[in-house]
């Protein structure tokens, strides 16, 4: 039996489609990532799975229980960390944790070993009000609160949004270590670079799943040549490359352009060609695809562009 099983879930808000025919499975002890931009429908799916919303169509099971009829069972078993910081800002760290332990019928001491690695980092501030914590510490506290009752499935809705880079890394290290305690984790994030840290990911956009696979195999399957092209006049180069016959797609990517070519060619040849065409400072290098490239390529396809 899988930790989470989603079968053809659809959900509409009035006229807008939030989710369209979503299906996937999360195994026990798996760290499953839901990757997509804001407004893709991630939070809606989380709320359906945590029994807070009803789907219009389809079925879903969490820990073997059906999300509509057996919602009470699910509410006892899962840990949920909503997208927005949702603890009591006017209670101290310790008071928050002990409150959530009590309402789940347990105590901090009983499950301390489960949260120890996370909680030790905020324990020095346990008398501080939650509202006065930094963003990273707030998320650690929220995770501790979601874990304190030893859930079988953990739902983390964008846990690293608004958190600094160091804390984000720490947070993901914690998630990796939780996996070893056989807790299934469904985590959503808009940060593509976090995708590779998951066991399996689903790319989601505008309520539809683009692809489900392990992140490494997704990257391996990306078989077109990919180049990073760097110049001072990025915009001019972008317009220039769009007109080239070999260009499959070209998109701005940080401070350079990522060019997917439909022909096999070497980086050196491309660089020479572009230099001769007036971009004297251009530097071209062949690169390995990232999840973001995969995502953009897939979302390109579904939008019907070339």
């Amino acid at each position: 039996m899988n930790a989470i099983s989603i079968q053809n879930i659809s959900k509409n808000y009035k006229d807008t489609k939030a989710l369209e025919d979503i299906s996937f499975e999360v195994q026990n002890g798996q760290l499953f990532g839901l990757i997509g931009p804001d407004g893709a429908g991630k939070s809606t799916l989380f709320r359906i799975l945590t029994t807070l919303l009803l789907a219009d169509k389809g079925q879903a099971f969490v820990d073997g229980y059906e999300v509509v009829k057996e919602f009470r069972e699910i509410r006892k078993r899962v840990g949920y960390m909503p997208g927005r910081f949702s603890l009591y800002q006017d209670l101290s760290v310790e008071e928050n944790l002990s409150f959530f332990a009590t309402i789940f019928g347990t105590t901090i001491e009983e499950n301390y070993d489960l949260i120890r690695d996370i909680y030790v980092q905020i324990e020095p501030f346990k008398k501080r009000l939650a509202g006065n914590l930094s963003g990273g510490m707030k998320q650690k506290l929220a995770l501790s609160c979601a874990l304190i009752h030893k859930p079988t499935v953990l739902f983390l809705d964008e846990p690293t949004t608004g958190v600094d880079a160091v804390s984000r890394k720490e947070f993901w290290d914690m998630l990796r270590s939780l996996k070893e305690k056989n807790i299934a984790i469904l985590v959503s994030t808009p940060y593509m670079d976090e995708a590779v840290l998951c066991d399996e990911i689903a790319l989601i956009q505008e309520g539809r799943i683009l692809k489900i696979d392990e992140p490494q195999s997704m990257i391996h399957q990306f078989d077109r040549p990919l180049f990073a092209v760097k110049t001072n006049d990025t915009y001019k180069l972008l317009k220039h490359l769009r007109l080239k016959p070999f260009t499959h797609s070209v998109l701005p990517f940080g401070e350079c352009l990522h060019l997917i070519s439909s022909e096999r060619m070497s980086a050196a040849d491309l660089q020479d060609q572009l230099r001769s065409e007036g971009f004297a400072d251009v530097i071209v290098s062949k690169i390995k695809a990232s999840i973001e490239d995969v995502f953009l390529e897939l979302s390109h396809k579904t939008e019907g562009h070339v």
Partner: protein, 369 residues
Amino acid sequence: MFKVLLAFIRKEFYHILRDKRTLLILFGMPLAQVLIFGYAVTNEFNDAEIDIMDYAKDETSEQYINHLQSSGNFIVRRVLGSPNEMEEGMKAGKAKLVVSIPDNFSEDFYAGNSIQIQVITDGSDPNNANTLVQYLTEMTQSFQRQKRNEPTDPYTINVASRMLYNPQLASAYNFVPGTIALILLIICAMLTSLTIAKEKEIGTMEILLVSPLSPLLIILGKVAPYALLSFVNAIVVILIGFFVFDVPVLGSTLLLLSMCFLYVFTALSLGILISTTVKTQQEAMMKSLMGLMMPSMLLSGFIFPLASMPVVLEYIGKIIPATYFIRILKGVMLRGVGLNFILFEIAVLLAMTLGFLFLSWRNFKIRLE
């Protein structure tokens, strides 16, 4: 289960004690309200300043003026020199009343001729003017009786009135019950609807829903502290009324307290009902202020008597819980009645409470939509 409820209630007390705004509403407002109603908003007056236009200037008119001042209600501000000055004091807002004593006062008085004393008041404040004229008429009559030294005229009908239950017509007798009703309503209904709306607003309701807590427990945990605190408040107001404003509690104290308890429940259930229909604290505030406070203050018979209102308002007044609670309070505190005289009001409050609870239960969402 009990442990969970206790933890919930403790958490709620933390919220209350750490929020200055809530604390102020809880403890500052009752005190302020009682004192404002007690000292500022009152129909009684002492030492009203009056002007005298004395055309007679004889011995009897002097005695009459002294008699007016002897009650402590009036103080003569000025004795005017000419009728042109009559309006001056009133325009300046200093004189509340001008008494004009006609020529030959003494002569006519002892000759038994009819005398007309002219009284001019400031009609821009009608309530006050009325009361002042009433006082003055009384004082004039008593002066007449005293001077003529004769028993009441056998051919006149005299009205001897006695204000039962409130002989001095102290306004505290009216505002103490009214204030209790209002305070309990504000604290129970407004604060509970606010605190539940707050959980929705900051997102903690989402977490509470995804937990084994039953809706009943969530609500019970949220309202229990407010029930306790507002009950304490009711007792404080009754005590202030008793010791500071001499408002008696003639009926049974136990009955009084249990009635307060019943009303606390009514107000709480109303607060819960409001909270099930709102998403934000602001909405909860608007609904409880406009929908509860205003009508309870204006239409419950607390400030304006219900019977003198247009029929529509009278009917609205009849569906306001405070109306019945004020009747109960006045009955038990001032008239000292027992349970059997207020059965109807109790039944109405009970029915309202059950109705509100039923509607809240129907409205409570176990999900987000």
